[in-house]
């Protein structure tokens, strides 16, 4: 990943970041053609039909939840936290890959990120939107929850409890959502100007023109733009690391065995990036195929993403081993029981399934043959996301179902509404992503151009 020669791909005998044969015009043409086209591809219509159906399921589930209350969920004592927090952590973790690609890899001057940053960032925004549904709606009466989530002067004179990690989470996630949208939009401005200048109809020219704010690409514009992009990347980097750290505080600051662990922040961040890259692969592999983007999203990108997945997967595996080690080393009977219960108790199947995915299966990514096999990677990326969902399930449910007092132990089973709400968020995510693919350039046009010889300028003689 930290390859210093990455800007000289030919010298490394690797697949180049962009396949030969592209110039400024073909790059603009290839990418801008999709949002400007009058045609709605049949496959797109088919996918959005399914996505809209799931979106309707989401509305139904939320409507029923608001009408009846959170009793429709399987969540009950002693498992007072279940599907909503699992799904929240899962979705927000997925978002982290987008920010990693657009911010951290920008700071490290990893030029391969340019082809995938735009839609990875879009994925971030939509994933955070899906994640936000859970903490808001699991309160049952979200309009009443506002006063203890947000600091605003209310008629009761109440203020949030700022010593609680749950309030930190509100600040972290809302900042993350806002900054992600801002960063994404700033990145879009020059490309929206490209669409404005190529629009076939007056209406499109006006809409894209308004969205591009009248961008002209003058030397002054670009200078401030580049400074702003670098600053935004510099700000997003500590932000993305803080978000999953704060999410892990929701658990780590409590005294529940299996949650009260200092390894949680780095372990959660690595897990987030791991699942996020899996989701980027899940999206990138079909998208590059269906839209014929193989020359811009090359095997180099696929290979690098698989490597990032491997690296973060190994960190996650280290996290699992440390959890087990500390449970033993703590000499606390509750911690030791928690670990033993995870491995052999009522949810042992989930634990061993996640170990076989996140620790065993991920080792196949060491092999270049596997990383070059797009179909296999696609399947693996789906399985990894299942594995990361199971990780959160195991952490949340096993610690609560068998807590300190054996008389209160119970078995947690999710209800139909738990599943429907989760499935519904896929509808929101997929609908938003498909609309993005249709109306916004899915790859950053101007950034990809900077990789071409036409953009290169010699230093002053």
């Amino acid at each position: 990943m930290a390859d210093p020669n990455i800007h000289r791909p030919m010298a490394l005998q690797e697949t180049p970041v962009i396949l030969p044969g592209h110039d400024f015009e073909t790059v603009t043409e290839t990418i801008a053609e999709i949002p400007l086209s009058r045609r709605y591809p049949l496959g797109w219509i088919g996918f959005i039909a399914i996505a809209l159906f799931l979106l309707a399921v989401l509305h139904m589930a939320l409507g029923y939840l608001v009408m009846v209350g959170i009793g429709i969920f399987g969540t009950n004592q002693p498992v007072g936290w279940a599907f909503p927090i699992i799904n929240f952590v899962w979705w927000i973790g997925i978002g982290h890959a987008g920010t990693l690609i657009s911010a951290i890899l920008l700071l490290f001057k990893q030029q391969w990120r340019m082809s995938i940053s735009r839609f990875a960032e879009a994925m971030t925004i939509f994933a955070v939107a899906c994640a936000a549904i859970f903490p808001v709606f699991h309160t049952g009466r979200p309009w009443l929850a506002a006063y203890w989530l947000f600091p605003y002067p209310n008629a009761m004179g109440l203020w949030p409890q700022f010593k609680s990690p749950l309030i930190w989470d509100v600040f972290a996630v809302s900042t993350y959502a806002t900054v992600s949208v801002v960063f994404w939009y700033v990145g879009l401005i020059p490309d929206l100007a490209s669409l404005r200048d190529r629009a076939s109809s007056k209406l499109k020219a006006i809409l894209y023109g308004m969205a591009s704010l009248g961008w002209r690409g003058s030397a002054r514009h670009w200078h401030r733009y580049e400074v702003a992009s670098l600053i935004l990347a510099g700000l997003s980097t500590p932000l993305v690391l803080s978000v999953h750290t704060v999410v892990s505080f929701d658990f780590a600051v409590s005294v529940i065995p299996g949650w009260h662990a200092t390894i949680f922040p780095p372990y959660f961040v690595a897990g987030a990036i791991y699942s996020g890259f899996a989701m980027v692969l899940t999206l990138a592999i079909p998208v590059r195929r269906f839209y014929g983007m193989e020359s811009l999203i090359t095997m180099r990108h696929i290979d690098n993403m698989a490597k990032v997945m491997l690296a973060t997967g190994l960190i996650v595996g280290y996290g699992y081993s440390m959890e087990a080690f500390f449970a033993w080393y703590s000499a606390s009977p509750h911690e030791q029981f928690m670990m033993w219960n995870r491995m052999t108790g009522q949810y042992a199947w989930a634990y061993w399934l996640l170990i076989s995915i996140n620790v065993v299966m991920v080792q196949f990514l060491w092999f270049k043959r596997v990383r070059q096999n797009v179909g296999l990677l696609f399947v693996m990326s789906l399985i990894v996301n299942v594995g990361m969902w199971l990780e959160r399930f195991v952490i949340v449910v096993t610690s609560l179902a068998n807590d300190f007092v054996p008389t209160s132990w119970a078995h947690y089973t999710p209800t139909m509404w738990d599943y429907l709400l989760y499935a519904g968020t896929f509808g929101l995510f997929t609908t938003a992503f498909l609309l993005f693919l249709r109306f916004v350039p899915m790859i950053s046009i101007f950034e990809v151009k900077t990789l071409l010889p036409q953009a290169k300028v010699k230093a002053e003689p």
Binding site: W168, S194, R216, G217, W222, H223, Y225, L232, L239, S242
Partner: protein
């Protein structure tokens, strides 16, 4: 504008078109060396040299972002201190009301939020955007400035504007156009 020469009442400037970034940078260097002052370059990709050559100054944006970030930090801390100590003090197990360490996370997040918003909004406003109309859009070929062509404009308020069109033709431009105001 009062300083537009009377001979060309409706002209924003003259525009030259180039095929690549190198040609534009070379032309910009020549233009500045020749003593033109009201010059602007337009390119489909960022070329940092152009700002150095033409404008010679860097943006004030980093300073604004620092101010924005510090304001965010102060806001976050003040909000929590005021809510927890002054407006709504609750004694929980005798813990101090002003437990500043727990205020770090929201202050940190608001630092980033304010700084990021300053960076984005500052960039947009300093660039004079949103600006739906600009004279350069009157040139038909300029629609390629966001695709694959590079442009250099000498504006009519330049004192040496009379010689501008003839000069630009000598810089290797593939076309020179008048830019209507």
């Amino acid at each position: 504008m009062a300083d537009i020469p009377e001979t060309t009442p409706a002209l924003h400037g003259v525009m030259a078109e180039y095929d690549n970034g190198q040609a534009l940078v070379d032309a910009a260097r020549k233009t500045m060396a020749h003593g033109f002052t009201q010059v602007e370059a337009y390119s489909p990709v960022p070329i940092e040299d152009l700002n150095t050559i033409i404008h010679k100054s860097r943006t004030v944006l980093p300073g604004l972002v620092l101010t924005g970030g510090l304001t965010g930090m102060a806001t976050g801390f003040a909000l929590q201190y005021w809510a927890s100590v002054i407006e709504y003090p609750i004694n929980i197990g005798g813990r101090p009301l002003a437990s500043w360490t727990t205020f770090i996370v929201p202050s940190y997040e608001l630092t980033i939020l304010f700084a990021a918003l300053t960076a984005a909004i500052g960039m947009i406003l300093l660039n004079g955007l949103p600006q739906p109309y600009h004279p350069v859009f009157n040139v038909q070929r300029f629609s390629l400035a966001s695709s694959d062509k590079f442009f250099l404009v000498i504006e009519s308020r330049d004192p040496k504007f009379g010689a501008a069109a003839a000069f630009l033709r000598e810089t290797g431009a593939r076309g020179v156009y008048d830019v209507a105001e």
